[in-house]
């Protein structure tokens, strides 16, 4: 009896809650760390980035107007689904990141706990970065954090799972929607699989969009897009300078620091606009 022929996964993008191929029809071959064929990956284009931004913009109201409690539960649900696919990610990381089973397992566990950490932030961030301001006058003055809107993210080129979680979750936890471009070809399989996690975790369609392709080609398109409000360039490497200049045309908020600490309050604060309300006090 011969070995069973397994069913191979088609690696597609994740946009607006669906898994489309690139509108360009382009693909490229992705091999695993040992050089074996893994997939023909969708090679995203300018149009794909534009579609993803439209989807992300369309989802902003639903996501930011959901209660913080509800957003926390949805992100916690992501952690639940990640946990149930723990072993799958361990296998995948061995193929794509070339790490040992032990290190992969540690990476997956760490990433799940990090997701839980961010899930708990949704209804606490306002209490930590917002507050009342004792202005000298008969006014009640308070500042509340509001999400910027659509955040474009170039994920780190290494540690494809924790790198994705540590850049995408803070933007989501603060109420933004995201367009994600995996920072390297090796980071794509994990990113696509995380799209499947999102699709089954009550994350509303359009809140997370993942465009696969070549980061050096897609990042400038994302950075110069007028409807992108924030950029995390964690995986952009030496092109940060160029991308930062492109972002400046529309005063897009940019985080261009490396991902050092996974528990990064800086990234949680990065895509928040503080809104301050003055209200008179008097009879």
């Amino acid at each position: 009896m011969s070995d069973r022929v397994s069913v191979s996964k088609t690696y597609k993008m994740y946009v607006n809650g669906a898994f489309p191929r690139s509108e360009s029809g382009r693909t490229f071959v992705l091999n695993d760390v040992e050089g074996n064929f893994l997939a023909n990956v969708a090679h995203g284009s300018r149009k794909d980035i534009r579609d993803a931004v439209v989807a992300a913009r369309g989802a902003t109201n639903k996501w930011k107007s959901a209660t913080a409690y509800n957003r926390g539960q949805v992100l916690y649900r992501v952690a639940e689904i990640l946990e149930s696919r723990h072993d799958e990610f361990v296998s995948l990381l061995q193929l794509t990141d070339g790490v040992s089973a032990k290190r992969a397992a540690n990476e997956v566990s760490k990433s799940i706990d990090l997701t839980v950490w961010y899930a708990g932030w949704t209804d606490k961030i306002a209490q930590v970065v917002g507050g009342t301001n004792p202005v000298a006058g008969p006014f009640f003055n308070f500042s509340i954090p509001a999400p910027c809107g659509v955040v474009g993210i170039i994920t780190p080129t290494v540690n494809s799972l924790s790198g994705f979680i540590a850049t995408v979750l803070p933007a989501l936890a603060s109420g933004n929607t995201v367009v994600v471009v995996p920072g390297s070809h090796e980071a794509i399989p994990v990113a696509v699989t995380l799209g499947e996690v999102a699709a089954t975790s009550d994350v509303p369609a359009g809140v997370i969009n993942i465009v696969t392709g070549t980061a050096s080609e897609l990042a400038p398109i994302l950075a110069s897009h007028e409807d992108v409000d924030g950029l995390d360039l964690a995986g952009a490497g030496e092109s940060r300078l160029e991308l930062g200049r492109l972002a400046s045309a529309t005063i897009t908020r940019v985080v261009d620091s490396d991902l050092r600490d996974l528990h990064d309050l800086k990234r949680l604060r990065a895509f928040i606009d503080t809104v301050t309300v003055w209200h008179t006090i008097g009879q």
Binding site: G72, Y76, D113, W121, D123, I281, Q283
Partner: protein, 487 residues
């Protein structure tokens, strides 16, 4: 004064009974204490009954916690604190708390029915408020367990140790959640004593805590009456006392822990002023007044039990209010259409009746709903007193029942003076379309919680607690962590 006869266009309409099924919950004949991860044998303790206050039906017997039981629970909590809980990273504690939140959600219908059976409150409230909010409380504090460094109390704030917690009968499960969730998130272990008339949902919560795999001894539940509570708060092995209940008992507890070094928070009684200005949105205001005093049969420490109405709209408000009171459906708490359920105990019913008599004797005008009351169980008709003076007992004492006292005022200053003319200071409501005056009032009212154009709103992110003789310390929000941290 307008005609107080209510005009009810709905009085001829009848609802078919819509009872929630009891089949979802199994009540044991007898319960022991939950100590060190296991239920004790009920037969090892003196026992007493808990009943369904809506029918008088015997539900179960529970154990009367002795000094030895409290000793065992405190010892289990201490051991769990030292050997397990204090050694876990916050992220691990968080995951246990998230599990509890999810299990409460999964078993929400069971909890809601059991709470209604044991407490007498309407299923609509247990289903829509008590149980979902209990889950939300665990969910919110779960998220703090791994973020204590960001809570504003300095780096690495330490837990206190073992917390002794005594909770009341008006929100049995919810109060257990308010107490246990922040305590565990901050890294403490607990011994909780539920009220003697409503122990069952706390014991079901113990089962949930077991399902969640929480390490043995982290949560211990000892049932019993005031003697058990006294043994717990006086126990030298605890580091923290948290009490929700009457101001009278709060005084005894504060005296008992004085000089002991135990951290103390007290959430006590109230006589909330619900203040209605002439420019208030009238329909929302009437609903808010109703919710403020008749929610949970008025068994709410922050109830809006004193209605202060601006004189110019008094008659209109009263007319609309009484018409609405007539429409409240009083009866079977398991019926999904019931607005006002059973009074929790015979003792509480007697107290409400006595104070209501005093209101009449002191000269206030009583209006009670003409609704038919069930023949069995403990029920009291929704009642409104007009012409109440500040000196009347019904304006000064906490009735803790469905009885509203109405007073009037002319100016904002007078409203503030009358609202503050109490030894309590838990909550107040302000109804007005003028935000600047609402905030002006809020600066002057002596109350820990102030609702504007709403009433009786609670949320795990929002600090709750009183000033003056309504107690001190806050539950909920970032502030709620402070009660369980050595800061």
């Amino acid at each position: 004064m307008s005609d107080l006869t209510p005009l009810s266009s709905l009085s001829s309409l009848e609802y078919a009974p819509a009872p929630e099924s009891r089949a979802v919950v199994t009540v044991q004949d007898a319960y022991g204490h939950f100590i060190n991860g296991d239920f004790t044998n009920p037969a090892s303790s003196e026992q007493f009954a808990t009943i369904n206050p809506a029918t008088g039906e015997h539900l179960a017997t529970v154990a009367q916690g002795s000094d030895a039981d409290v000793d065992a629970a405190v010892a289990a909590a201490r051991k769990a604190y030292e050997k397990v809980w204090s050694t876990l990273p916050g992220s691990e504690r968080a995951k246990y708390l998230f599990r509890i939140a999810r299990l409460i959600q999964e078993r929400s219908r069971e909890l809601a029915v059991l709470e209604t059976l044991d407490n007498g409150k309407p299923i609509r409230e247990t289903r829509d408020i008590d149980v979902p909010m209990a889950a939300a409380w665990f969910f919110y504090y779960a998220g703090w367990a791994d973020k204590l460094d960001y809570a504003g109390f300095g780096p690495q704030p330490a837990a206190l140790g073992v917390a002794g917690q005594v909770i009341p009968w008006n929100f049995p499960l919810l109060m257990a959640a308010w107490k246990i969730a922040p305590a565990l998130a901050a890294g403490n272990t607990v011994v909780l004593k539920p009220a003697e008339t409503t122990p069952l949902t706390a014991l079901l919560l113990a089962d949930i805590i077991r399902q969640a795999g929480v390490p043995d001894g982290v949560v211990n539940i000892v049932t019993g009456d005031g003697r058990t509570g006294a043994a717990l708060v006086n126990h030298p092995g605890i580091n923290k006392v948290a009490f929700t209940g009457s101001t009278e008992v709060g005084r005894i507890i504060q005296s008992a822990v004085a000089g002991s070094g135990k951290k103390l928070t007290l959430e006590l009684g109230g006589k909330g002023a619900n203040i209605v200005f002439a420019d208030a949105p009238i329909d929302e205001t009437i609903e808010g007044i109703i919710d403020g005093i008749f929610f949970n049969q008025g068994h709410v420490c922050c109830a809006g039990s004193r209605l202060l109405v601006q004189e110019s709209i008094h008659d209109d408000v009263i007319e609309r209010l009484l018409r609405r009171v007539e429409q409240l459906r009083v009866g079977d708490p398991l019926d999904k259409n019931t607005d006002v359920g059973a009074i929790n105990s015979a003792a509480q019913l007697a107290k409400i009746a006595e104070l209501t008599e005093a209101g009449v004797l002191e000269g206030a005008t009583r209006f009670s709903s003409s609704c038919a009351l069930p023949s069995a169980g403990f029920f009291f008709p929704p009642t409104v007193f007009t012409g109440v003076e500040q000196t009347h007992r019904i304006a000064r004492e906490e009735i803790f029942g469905p009885v509203l006292s109405v007073l009037t005022f002319r100016t904002p200053e007078e409203a503030v003076a009358k609202a503050n003319n109490t030894t309590f200071g838990l909550a107040a409501g302000i109804w007005s379309e003028k935000g600047s005056r609402t905030l002006w009032m809020a600066e002057r009212l002596r109350a820990g919680v102030i609702w504007a154009n709403t009433y009786n709103k609670f949320d795990p992110t929002s600090p709750f607690g009183g000033v003056r003789e309504s107690g001190f310390g806050r539950e909920g929000g970032r502030h709620g962590l402070e009660a369980y941290l050595n800061v």
